[in-house]
Symmetry: C2
Subunit: 392 residues, 2 copies
């Protein structure tokens, strides 16, 4: 049995029009100056930012704004946000958007409260000890950052993408209104489905002795995501399916799916990070591009889990050897990715890396992961290169 | 889609020897005087209280003690605890035990911080606005009170048993060491299994439009409890099965299993409360004594959910009409209760109520539930009497 700490303090307000609760939430909290942090367009165009500001104005707080967060959020904007927080005496950050906006807000919060260079935290040179509190109005079901302790920032000066886990980074509240996700176009919706699924699968595929209840809940979540993704592909305004994806997204990354495991594998995420750092690919797409190659490379080292995944999640009929079934499960999963229009190879991302590019990614991967990583199979730089090559 | 608030801030320290973390937890918190609250024997005999006090002494806090909590915890002891907290300037309550001890601690916390008569909260005459913080070292996997917002107290002056939900009652931390539950004897272990299962089932059996992910996780949890209960019956020191039950117990009642539902039915709990208020029966046993009769009385009004329960949880083969399958599911569940040595009728509790006693219970049930209750079927006093009579 593995010990664990479970800490998911984020208060979730789930349901239609739940962003209307912001006035009450912020009034009760006693904050005085709120930084409203958002992305590059849709939340502005849809009128959501206007509605959020209206709700905050009625809570009697001063509002400071910083838009312009891009996918794979950049350190330069984080620095800008920190300066703004310090000059305007911001005491609360409200992230209105998806994972990139929330991650950027978390970095700003740590940087503004902690002093010094916030990038030190991402390079593990310092441990964050305080942060400005962060709240969320979620507009994309994907990253799960609304309840998670993690944030991923791209250093746009060095092209290094790094994640940081810190319990204090968990948002204090998250407003989850599935209606806000109905207008998300098909491709980012599919990327989101893949991301939610992978957050669960990275934890599920491991060589530790799991708690059965955790495993079964992970299977429940992944099965739901596959089903809901099909509904949303057919009918983008299927509000019930959007609601399933939204709640599954939060649960997939708040720690619940790790309880009792060895923590999970996380190689697909780290391999994907190097792809999107170099080519600015969408996070979910970078995962599906490399997962099949990774899975075929490691499954024999973790056969019982891959077998269980095939039967319990991918619905493979249990006729055949464990190895045959495990492989069928991998292929079924890759087919599901493809059926959503997601890339299942690196070139399908629209890029064409040379042999030297692959070597560079493998080298950076090794540098950023202390030389080795993985639970199903501990892989090293040479393995990473073999996986990138197979995924080409 | 039903809106919901999800708020489960309790920090869980799960694993072997996790009570050793108490020194660190309490040191960091800055509390100065801790009331150690416990039951009638086993935690003292096993040496756990001694170990807990040792850990607290090393955290440098003053310790005040109040033992003697009985199953179906009593208001008189709660009053005593409140007096003690006020006279000794207690700023934190540590509940060491199961649901009764934790519920008693929650009531003491509200009473000490809120002033006035704490019973007012249970009679819904006042809304609690503050509490002393409560932490938990859990010794029985059953009530789920370690993460829940609810507490149930028996007024031993009037023989009324009342529950109170309050978000502020959620414990700030819970130390969950499954080893501490290995010595729980077979009957309370079985009662605990039934309680965990019923906390999930009360939420699952409802007429609202559920989130699929919630339903599937509830099925995952119930399936795990059935499996683990069989293992623990065969081998009481099966630590892995004890761990499954312990974590399932916390998740069954922290709100996760309600997300997106209409809140659930809760008639079995309320019917059971009247039985244990009158006869001091164990909570879990009071539930199994009445559940079958309730289920047979209401299942036709909620056929799709009972059908799903039969197939997905009780493993009934899907051959037959929905009604036949629903009934088979009910019988399979009642058989599982019986297989653990739990009562499946009121008389099996070792009591023999007269017709007048049943009428009195139904009358009290109606008084305590505003005249009607339920989601599968809204029942009234006459229905309650019919169910008690069928359950005799």
């Amino acid at each position: 049995m593995n010990s664990f700490l479970y800490n998911a303090p984020t208060k979730v307000y789930f349901g239609q029009n739940s962003e209307e609760k912001l006035t009450e939430i912020i009034s009760e909290s006693g904050y005085k100056c709120v930084l409203v942090h958002y992305g590059c367009g849709s939340a502005v165009k849809s009128g959501l930012i206007k509605r959020v500001k209206w709700a905050l104005e009625h809570a009697g707080v001063k509002i400071v704004e910083l838009g312009g967060v891009m996918p794979n959020p950049r350190l330069s904007l984080v620095y800008e946000g920190i300066k703004l927080c310090l000059s305007e005496h911001v005491d609360f950050i409200l992230a209105v958007g998806g994972g990139s906006v929330i991650d950027s807000a978390k970095a700003i919060g740590m940087g503004a409260a902690g002093g010094g260079d916030v990038w030190d935290y991402y390079e593990e040179k310092r441990t964050p000890e305080k942060t400005l509190p962060v709240g969320v109005v979620l507009t994309v079901a994907a990253a799960g950052s609304e309840m998670s302790k993690s944030s991923v920032i791209t250093n746009d000066y060095t092209q290094v993408k790094r994640g940081r886990n810190a319990e204090l980074s968990r948002p204090v509240f998250a407003v989850l209104n599935p209606e806000l996700t109905v207008s998300v176009p098909p491709y980012p919706t599919a990327c989101g489905c893949a991301d939610i699924f992978m957050h669960t699968l990275e934890r599920y595929l491991n060589r530790g002795e799991n708690l059965e209840v955790t495993d079964r809940m992970a299977e429940a979540l992944m099965t739901t995501v596959i089903e809901a993704s099909k509904k949303v592909c057919r009918k983008p305004d299927d509000l019930k399916a959007r609601a399933e994806l939204m709640w599954a997204g939060s649960l997939s990354h708040n720690g619940l799916m790790s309880c009792g495991t060895d923590g999970g594998d996380w190689c697909t995420h780290s391999l994907g990070h190097e792809i999107s750092a170099l080519y600015d690919a969408a996070h979910g797409a970078s995962l599906t591009a490399v997962w099949g190659a990774w899975a075929r490379y490691v499954y024999k080292n973790c056969l019982s889990r891959f077998h269980k995944f095939a039967v319990q999640v991918m619905g493979v009929r249990p006729n055949g050897t464990r190895e045959e079934l495990a492989l069928k499960g991998i292929e079924a999963c890759v087919e599901w990715f493809a059926s959503m229009g997601l890339p299942t190879s690196i070139r399908a991302l629209g890029v064409n890396p040379s042999a030297d590019d692959l070597k560079l990614m493998a080298k950076k991967w090794a540098e950023n992961n202390g030389g080795e990583k993985g639970s199903c199979k501990k892989i090293k730089e040479s393995d990473a290169l073999a996986i990138y090559t197979a995924a080409l």
